[in-house]
Point group: C2
Chain length 116, copies 2
DNA sequence: CGAATTCGTTTCGGTCCCGTATCATTAAGC
DNA sequence: GCTTAATGATACGGGACCGAAACGAATTCG
């Protein structure tokens, strides 16, 4: 059975989750940054700048800058690939894993209290 | 019956929706902007700068700036309150309503194709 | 009336992000 | 070896945003 959501419930869920994030002073990430962060944490590695740029259909500097910012927030880290030293491998961090895990819990909690 | 989502499904849903928005060249809104936009479209009017600032627990300039940007995108509009001309009433627009409606449909569509 | 309060905006110095173009480094092809 | 290609980062001018403080306009209070 697929997840059945009506549009008004979907929008209400999105609102409640975003409100919760803002009110709890979480980093104010853009949709691009969230797409990158969740892709790194949900899709199987390895992750490269080029791969992420293709997956999001954006240019490489967009990925580089997002990694700069999220790296400063300790949500991701970068390391040179020893097999092909042109590559940069993007890796998860403990802080990032905790952030993503907590974020998932927030969504679940808000989904549970949605009106029908 | 409440909406039952497991954390991994919730995160996957968020990722798929953000990926869809980015890939479709939608405006790259931040969580703050989305929280403001959805509050305007889901909560009953009237909406004021002060009211939104309190609801999000942010300062008023944050709201003013977000309204500047989303106003340029035609997603919301501002009008002086004739009863108390200090107030600015934030109103919905046709473009904004279409954007929000489409966004809700994207969430629903991605929820339906979630793996169990 | 004048003073105090409220509302939204603006200013300030600073940071982040944009798209485009170019860069250095590394690897692969000949 | 030398040239070509690929990868990620950087420079550029411009725009958006930050928090804190000050601002003008409108209202309320005394």
């Amino acid at each position: 059975m697929p997840i059945a959501l009506r549009p008004i419930q979907a929008l209400r869920l999105w609102q409640q989750v975003c409100l919760a994030e803002v009110r709890n002073d979480m980093p104010d990430l853009s949709e691009r940054q969230i797409a990158i962060l969740l892709t790194i944490y949900l899709d199987p590695p390895p992750h490269t700048v080029r791969g992420l740029a293709e997956r999001l259909k954006v240019t490489k500097p967009v990925i580089t800058r997002a990694l700069d910012t999220m790296g400063a927030l300790k949500l991701v880290s970068r390391h040179r690939d020893d097999h092909d030293r042109r590559n940069v491998l993007i890796r998860r961090t403990v802080e990032g894993a905790l952030f993503v895990e907590r974020f998932g819990d927030v969504i679940v909690a808000r989904a549970e209290e949605l009106p029908l």
